[in-house]
Symmetry: C2
Amino acid sequence: MPAPIEFWFEFGSNYSYLALMRIEEEARRAQVPLHWKPFLLGPILRELGWQSSPFVDQKEKGDYVWRDMARRAARYGLPFRRPSDFPRRAVLPMRVALLGSAQPWMGEFCRRVMLRNWAQDAAIDNDDCVLAALAGLVADPSAILFQARQEPARDALRAQTAEARRLGIFGAPTFMVAGEMFWGDDRLEDALDHARTLG
Amino acid sequence: MPAPIEFWFEFGSNYSYLALMRIEEEARRAQVPLHWKPFLLGPILRELGWQSSPFVDQKEKGDYVWRDMARRAARYGLPFRRPSDFPRRAVLPMRVALLGSAQPWMGEFCRRVMLRNWAQDAAIDNDDCVLAALAGLVADPSAILFQARQEPARDALRAQTAEARRLGIFGAPTFMVAGEMFWGDDRLEDALDHARTLG
C-alpha cells in the first residue's frame, strides 16, 4: 500500500487550480490515497513578508505566470481565463472544503469552485457559489452552508492554516508524502512517485 | 525546421545546473537548434529587489529547494551535492561561456563548470576552474582565459545581461522560443514542444 499524499491547496491559488483538477484521477491511477488539505494561503504569505500574492508583488514574474498558466492549462486540456480579480478571496468555500475533506463530494465540489474562479472569472467567496457547487452532490446544501458559517468551521480553517505554517508550507499547491514536501503543480508526479516507492 | 530555443542560464543557479546538464541532448533529440545565452543573474535579482538569491532571502523556500534539487538530480541521474557556498560567484567562467557560445566545445565546457559547482562543491570563479574545464577541448586554454579577462569580454557579458533584463527575464534557467518565455528547468520540455510546433 503506497503512502498517502496530502494535497494542501487554496481556491485562490492559480497553480492549485491546475493540480486540483487533476489530482483525484492521478492519485486513483497511481493507487495513492488522497488526503485533501484546504488551507488559507494569504495569512501565510503575509507572515512571510508578502503584501499580496508573489505574482502581484513581483511584476516580472506575475507577467510570466499568466502565460505559463495558459500554456499549462492547454497542455492538461483544462479551460482557463485569467481572472479579473487575483488573488480572489475564498474563505467561505475553503471552510466548506474543510468540512467536506473526507466526504465523497469533496473532489467534485472543489473542481466546481475552481472552474468558477479560473474558467468563468466569477467571485467564489459567497453563498451562491457554495450552493451552486454543492447542488446535486449533497441532500441539503444550505445545511452545509449554515455549518460553514459557524464558529467551529472558522476555527477549523484557522487551525488547518496554522498546521500548514508548522509544516513549513510557503506556497500552494503543496504535496506532503510521509513528511516529504513537494511544492507546485509540476511536482504532483514526483510526489505520487514518491508515495508509490514507499508502498 | 523547428524554431531555435535560447537557453538563458548562469553557473551559480541551481536549477540552471539541472537544465544545462540535459539540454544539449534533449534539444538534439527534439531536433531543435540550441542557442546558448549565458548571463549574470545577480545584477538582475538585485534590480528586482533581492539581496541575494531568492532561495537565501526566503528561508522556507530555501530549505525546500535543496530537497527538491536532490530529488530532481536523482530523477535525472545527475550527481548533486549542496554547495557550501551559494550562490557561487561565476563571473570569469560566464565570460568564457559567452566567448564559447557558438563553439563546438561550449556544451562540454559548461557541464564541467557546473559539475565543479554542484557535484564537487568547488569554487568556479578562478583560472584553475576555467583551464581545467577547457582542457582537451581547445588547443590553447590559456589564450581563451586571457581573452576572457579583456575589456571586450567583460562588456559582452554586461550587454548580454542587459539583454536578459530587456526580455523580462527574472530568473534562471529561462528558455525563449520565438519570443515566448519558459522559466525553470521543469519547463524545458514545454519549451522544446513549443519550438517543434512552430517547425
